[in-house]
Amino acid sequence: MGRTATIIAVSYGVIVILSVAFVLTVWLSTRARDAGPDVALLARREKTWFAVSVVILVSILFATIFFTPYGKGAGAGKQVVRVTGFQFGWTIEPQTLKMNVPVEFRLTALDVSHAFAVYNADDELLFQVQVVPERTQKAFYTFKKPGTYEVLCFEFCGLFHDQMRATFEVKPA
């Protein structure tokens, strides 16, 4: 599991535990046959919850928006790799890439939409990007380890979608 996936797993795990604790509190509270809470007060506190929700969402927005993969570049000295997706295979030129040298993938599709998803030798998903017919999509990545990398198609493209695989090599520069 990659770093971002781990962040998601831990965050979601924590929020699930907190949610379950909250839900159990509400559930068990219905056993107390007392006069109940001040319903009007709870209704007024909806405004506070509204403000809290907005603050949480804005915080998540600012904590994540700068990691959006758009608008990045590979810089000078990059390697350019041309990728074409088709039912049901990939052409990747060149097939051998240099380690620690930024790669600019230029991707297009011949027939239908595909998606270029790259895994390392540990089966960890490194990145993915959609590949649409009649368009050129760019993706940037710098491979830090040598070895064989696997490509799967991540957009459903028909009969042999699950067999639309390829590999490429990364070697020390």
Binding site: T4, G36, P37, E46, F50, D123, R135
Partner: protein, 513 residues
Amino acid sequence: MTEAARERARALTLRYLLASTAIFLAAGVLGILLRDSQADLGRLDPNFFYAVMTAHGLGAFVGWAGFACMGLSLWVLTSVGFPLRRFGAAMAELAFWLMLVGVAGILVTTLLLNFAASWVFLYPLPFHSAGQWGDATTGIFSASVLVVGLSIITWCAGIVHTVLGPALHAVRPTLGNRLGLALGLGYLAPRRFATNPTPVPYAVIPLTVIGIDMIVATLPLAVLLVIMIVQSAAPGVTVDPLLAKNMLWFFGHPVVYLLLFPAIAVYYLLIPRYAQRPLVAGNVVAVAWVLAVFVNVIIWAHHIYIDYPSGSPQAAINTAMQPLTFAITIPSALSLYSLFFTVYRSKFEWTAASTALFLGLVGWLLAGFSGVVNATIAFDAVVHNTLWIVGHFHHMALLNIGLVIFGATYAFLPELTGKALYSDRLGKWHIWLTFLAGTGAFSLWLIQGLQGAPRRFAVLPDRYATLTDATIPLVIVLALAQLLFVWNIVQTLRGKGGRYTAPQTEPAGAPAA
């Protein structure tokens, strides 16, 4: 309300519920076939796998959940004093038959004619079948989906006509004023949007929002489908694939709310009933729903965050839609607050129906959080088109919307038939087994997604086999639990639970503060 109007709504709702339940069972069987095949228990031929996947997706999502929620809305409106008038009833009747015809067309083109381009039928895939189906089949499939779209628009027309009717008790009955009232603005500006004698029931507000939004959201999809029908006969007519993706998702996201917003209306009606006190809600909920009516139709691009080809404005559109998508979670956040605190320290009556609704709130809460992950571009770049997404939407569809449908069925069926529920105890077993087995199965999907397992693979890479196999017992329990539901419904309809006598009070709709 006249007895004739109530009878009209009763008959229509019952018909929607029974038809959608039949589709649910068929779509459920298809879902089991898919997961069993992935676990190599009865491996399906690849194209048949994807044809079943297409039928399961559209059948379960629109033919069951959407259709059921459309029907439940009719009874919710009737229950809060908004009966269908002649036009509304005619639209609901037409929507019912259009949905049946559309779903039948989808089932025939997928299961018999091999159409297998998935429920999103991502253009131009329907015209690149790898020899598995012909363009004529694509044309028939497109026409079938178009008929489903017409059903939704027709239903929306009936809903909007109903919510803007005299039941609003608008002091100033201009169209703008009535629209504002139905959106809940009376809670924000009671003088400008005055009613006499009662305020607008909360349950009316989400139905107004979705009634308006689905008309707006469905029209571009209808255009795309018409073009596809034309292309099936005249191959020279084509659409830009990226534009087609945007048109599809312009419908594809709001249609989620065709399920969620009626479900919220059910919650707004029934949770106060079982808690035996009014909904804990103030005036700020109106802000959220007014926000929703606009934002709902301008957040489609979060489904295509990973598309940002050079020379297109897609990256800018996608970036703008992250905060907008976050904004659409506000109605959910406020509604969950209202509903949980309506239950909190109440004299909550724990029946099969109310248990389903309470566990539905839990499902909504947990699936909502996994939805925030999807809404965040940096996170979506990792989970997009993985089994995480499948786990998220099954969690939302079955353990929020589905539980609302089950709960509402247990609550409403006696009102609709005059026959008491056969067994509340059996209902509780059904609900708990569904919740526990569903939570287990969908959690495994979430984990597989974070491990990088792709969705829509007839055969997954071997490295994901362990968790795929682990879901099978859970899927079996999930399926068996639905048999309890069916048995309970059948026995209820046969009158085995005895006669039903309606209670006299209905504590719903009035604000708490």
